[in-house]
Every structure is written in structure tokens, then in C-alpha cells.
Amino acid sequence: MKLSAVYEKGIEWIAGACAMIALCIVCSEVFLRYFFPMLLPDWGREIVIYLFAWAIMLVGGLLIKDDRHVRADLVNELFPQASLKYFDVVVALIGIIFCVALTWFGVKTVIFAKTFEEISDSSIQFPMYLFYLCLPVGMLFMSLHYVNSLVKAIQTILGGVSVQQEADHE
């Protein structure tokens, strides 16, 4: 199996597993609250939030790869097909700038939380830097996917292959 396929399957499996654990926590909380209220932990909800935050941030890169981030496709009707590949270069560059910036400032947020030993209010006193870490990690993956998109878009321009032809080929 190719490395990219392993990465993709791995991310999907982690995201699915996070969702499954979150589902188990929420349902068991409802059960415990009505039948064994003394056993109900005070940290369930925050763990669910952290699990979903990690899962969502991790799949952000896959959405770039699959072209599933929502956008207006009006341009397909307005502009000639040949112009789309140049737009793809611009979009990938904006994506790289934004994701790298959020990776950088996300790391700073993590360092800040670690330095000041920021913890959650619940009894487990969860170290918040582990939650904040999902932002730079997710944005790093997204940056790499945008670099990949940029390389592909440039290759398309240099190779003279139109986006439509490429799509047809795929």
C-alpha cells in the first residue's frame, strides 16, 4: 500500500475511533446520570469536545485532497476552463500562507498554555496544551496538502494539461 493511502486510512480510522469513543462517553453519561448518578464523572463532556476537535482538525487535510472544502463554483460558468489552473495556484498560495500562519501561532498558543500550566476546571485537570495542539497539527497537515495542490497546479500549467482534461482523466 502506498504511503499516502496508509496516511489517509490512518487519519480516517483515528477520526472514526475518536467519534466512536465520544459517542460511548455521551451515551454512558446519560445512562449513569439516571441510574448511578454518584458514578457520573465531571470530565465526560470536555473529553468529548477534545476528541471531536482532534478528529475534525486531522481530517481537514483530507478535505483539501478530496476537494471537499465548500466553495462557490460559479466561476466554472463565468471563466474559460484554461483560467482555472491559474486560480488553483492562487488558492493554494493563500492556503499555504493561512495554514502556515495558524500552525505557527497555534504552536505559540500551545507553548503559552504549557508554560503557564493551563489546565481544565474538571477533576482530571486536563492539560489544555494537549487540546490546543490539535490546531497546529491539523494546520500543518493542511499546509502540506496545499503545498501538494500548488505543485500539482504548477505541473498542470507547465504540462499544458487543462483542469477539465485532468478531471476527465481522473
Binding site: 480516517e12 446519560v30 465548500v70 493563500i94 493561512f98 495558524l102 498558543t109 490546531l135
Partner: protein, 426 residues
């Protein structure tokens, strides 16, 4: 940077197919930088809003919708609706509206509703000699009920931005949703008698009981979700979790269209669909933060006050704006771009935010059906393998009905507010 230049940059980024989250996030980054605000605050806004309990309801409802779509629930509901209303003329069209209304009360997503229903009902209607355009139109239009009938993803996203009560919003969608279903049934009956569409075969008593028993697990899901919320037993997030669990069990244990092996992949697909929405929410929050700080909403409020704009005039203007945006943008993108700017004005004009949520959601239903970018149109075209033009032609009578509903809901606030006020007080 002045607001008109920002607006132009925004339009250019949208036009060159920049993803909405990147447009909003990129502009927020640029504006923070120009204004000299520390850029680390952008990262902090993102993680702060990610740490939200209401947001957690979205992935659970999306996962529930994913299991419902892939797990054989649609067929059970269609068979059940057919047993009850299939015997009248044009029965299958009425079955479509009724089954879609029930499915909408389970899943909360219009696209998932149209996809699940379309895959079964369009071939069935074609087999019974229904006009192809009509069957495409009724499935596509009924599918939009997914975001109006509770539980609704659109209402949850609205609640996050406007800081409104989710249970109140859910209740506000009930009467307009039923009104919409009633209008669509009336259209279906009109065409059924005009074109002589067939009646369904009557079922024997044993068949009737068997079909209803088979649908019972699927029908139990909305009872668990809505019953749980309104009886006060569970919170919205817990209800969403229970909906996901019930949908999982229904698909894997009762209808067996999904296997245990499918559970993690279906959940991963749910997370991916959620992420597409959440990334827009997070960057819209950051953009909204800058917009609030820039004083733009305040200027708009002052403009509205100086021009002595009446609430009804403003609602006409907003409806036109949302319909226009709906032609080009996706539902959640429109909500997240427009709401941070509109909310302060709504407040200053004394327009009830629960009422406005329903007005906005009906606009979003229209957005799903208006070309060139209407997600339900794409879904139906792909499910039925028919060209978009056929779907658009079929949808026209239903879009007209939705316009009528929009006017009713906009100018008679009690249609949306009566039920939540009755349950929770005004």
C-alpha cells in the same frame, strides 16, 4: 482598509473558487495584520470556539444522518408511509412528502434526506409512470425539509452564532415545516389528478402490521431525540449522541444494511462532513470578531436608524440578499457570512431572533434549490443520472410554494413563534 475594498477582495476570492473557510480565515488574518492586532489572538479565537459544547451536537447529528442514509432506514420509512397514504391517487408522491418529513425529523440534513429518499423514490415513481420532472422536483423540494423540521443542523449553527436556545429554535421550525409539507402534498394531489397518476396497491391487514413493525426502530429515533430534549431528560448534545447511537443500532442490528466493519468508516465520513462545516464556523467566528471590532455592524445599525427603516422593509431587503447569495453559496457559508453582520441590526430593529432563524432557514431551503449552486439539485442530478436542467424544471412549482411560505413566515411571526412561546413562555 475600507469596507468596500474588503468587500471587493471577498468577492474576488469567492469568484476564483477559494474555499469559504479560507476566504474568511485569510481575510481575518489580513485584517488582524493591517490593524496591528497580535496574530496569536486569531489562533486563540479558533481554539476557543472549538471548545464549544453546542458544536459537539453537529458531528453527532451528521453521524446519525450518515447511518440513516446508508443503513436502510429510508426504505423502511417509505414502506411505512406507503401503508398509510399510498392508496390515494398519486400516493407515491404523497408518500415521498410524508416519508421525507419523518426522515427530516431524524437526520437534520437536507442533502442527506434528498439523497436517501431520491435513491429509492425516483426509480419507483418512474416505474409507476410519474412524469420524470415531477418526481425529481418533489424529492428535491421535500428534501429541504431536513433543515426546517427539528432536529436541524442549520438551527444548531444559528444557535452557535446568535447564542440562542436550540430547543426553542427546533420548536420554531415545526409549524412552518408542517405547513411546507402540507403545501407540497397539495401540489402533489393537484398534479396527480391532472395527470392521472396511479393509486397504490392496498395492503392486507397482516402486511400493514408487518410494515409498521419493520419501521418501528426508525420511527423510534425522532421520538428519542425530540422526546428526550423536550421532556428535559437530555441536553441537545446528549440527544444528538443518542440519535447517533439509535441510528447506528437501527442500521446495524435491525436493518443490517451496515455491518460492524462499516461503523468506523461511516463515522469517519460523518466527521469529514462535519469538518467541512466546522472549518467555516471557526474562520467565520474569527472574521466576525474582526468585523465587530471594526465597527461595521454599528455603522450599519446607525444607517438603518437614520434611514428610518421599518422592520418589514429590512426583512424584504434581507430576503432578497439571502436569495441572491443562495444562488451562489452553500447554506452554512451564507449563514456564517451574513449572520455576524445582520445580528446587531436585527436587534436594533426589534426583530425576534428566533423568528428570523426560521426566515433565514426557509431562505436556505431555497438556496438548496436555486441554480447555479443548489446542492439538492446536484444530489438529485447525480442520484437520478438526469441532467441538471431537468431537475431545475421539475423543481419550479415547489420553489414557488416555498416563496409563498417564505412570505407567510416573514410577515406572520406567530407561525414560527407560537409553539416555542407556548412551551417556554415568550
Amino acid at each position: 482598509m475600507n469596507s468596500s475594498l474588503l468587500g471587493l477582495l471577498f468577492a474576488v476570492l469567492i469568484a476564483i473558487r477559494t474555499p469559504i473557510f479560507l476566504t474568511l480565515g485569510g481575510l481575518a488574518l489580513l485584517m488582524f495584520w493591517i490593524d496591528g492586532e497580535p496574530l496569536i489572538s486569531l489562533a486563540q479565537i479558533v481554539v476557543d470556539h472549538l471548545n464549544s459544547e453546542t458544536l459537539v451536537a453537529i458531528p453527532f447529528f451528521v453521524i446519525a444522518a450518515a447511518f440513516m442514509t446508508e443503513g436502510g432506514v429510508a426504505k423502511a420509512l417509505i414502506d411505512c408511509a406507503n401503508a398509510w397514504v399510498g392508496r390515494v391517487r398519486g400516493g407515491l408522491a404523497i408518500v415521498c412528502v410524508v416519508a421525507t418529513t419523518i426522515f427530516a425529523a431524524i437526520c437534520g440534513s437536507s442533502v442527506a434526506t434528498a439523497m436517501a429518499m431520491g435513491a429509492i423514490l425516483i426509480p419507483a415513481m418512474n416505474r409507476q409512470g410519474y412524469d420524470k420532472r415531477f418526481s425529481l422536483g418533489i424529492v428535491g423540494a421535500s428534501g429541504t425539509l431536513g433543515i426546517l423540521i427539528p432536529p436541524s443542523l442549520a438551527f444548531i449553527v444559528y444557535a452557535v452564532i446568535a447564542e440562542e436556545s436550540v430547543p426553542r429554535l427546533f420548536l420554531a421550525g415545526v409549524i412552518p415545516g408542517l405547513l411546507q409539507a402540507g403545501m407540497f402534498i397539495a401540489i402533489a394531489l393537484f398534479y396527480a389528478y391532472k395527470r392521472g397518476y396511479p393509486k397504490g396497491e392496498p395492503l392486507t391487514r397482516d402486511e400493514f402490521i408487518a410494515v409498521n413493525l419493520h419501521a418501528l426502530p426508525a420511527l423510534s429515533v425522532p421520538v428519542i431525540v425530540l422526546g428526550g430534549i423536550y421532556s428535559g431528560i437530555v441536553t441537545v448534545t446528549e440527544a444528538a449522541g443518542l440519535a447517533a447511537l439509535a441510528a447506528l443500532l437501527t442500521s446495524v442490528v435491525f436493518y443490517r444494511e451496515c455491518t460492524v466493519k462499516d461503523i468506523i468508516p461511516v463515522m469517519a465520513r460523518g466527521i469529514k462532513s462535519t469538518a467541512a462545516i466546522v472549518f467555516i464556523i471557526l474562520t467565520a467566528m474569527a472574521f466576525g470578531h474582526w468585523i465587530t471590532g471594526s465597527g461595521l455592524p454599528q455603522k450599519l445599525v446607525e444607517f438603518a436608524a437614520e434611514s428610518q427603516m421599518k422592520p418589514w422593509m429590512f426583512l424584504v431587503f434581507v430576503n432578497i440578499l439571502l436569495l441572491f447569495l443562495g444562488m451562489f453559496l452553500e447554506v452554512f457559508a451564507i449563514m456564517l457570512i451574513a449572520l455576524p453582520i445582520l445580528l446587531p441590526i436585527l436587534d436594533s430593529l426589534g426583530i425576534n431572533l428566533i423568528h428570523f432563524a426560521v426566515v433565514m432557514t426557509i431562505n436556505m431551503e431555497l438556496a438548496l434549490l436555486t441554480p447555479p449552486v443548489g446542492l439538492n439539485l446536484f444530489v438529485l442530478s447525480s442520484v437520478s443520472k438526469e441532467p441538471m436542467s431537468e431537475v431545475v424544471k421539475g423543481i419550479i412549482p415547489f420553489v414557488i410554494a416555498l416563496f409563498v411560505l417564505l412570505i407567510i413566515v416573514t410577515y406572520i411571526p406567530q407561525v414560527s413563534l407560537w409553539l416555542p412561546n407556548l412551551i417556554y413562555g415568550s
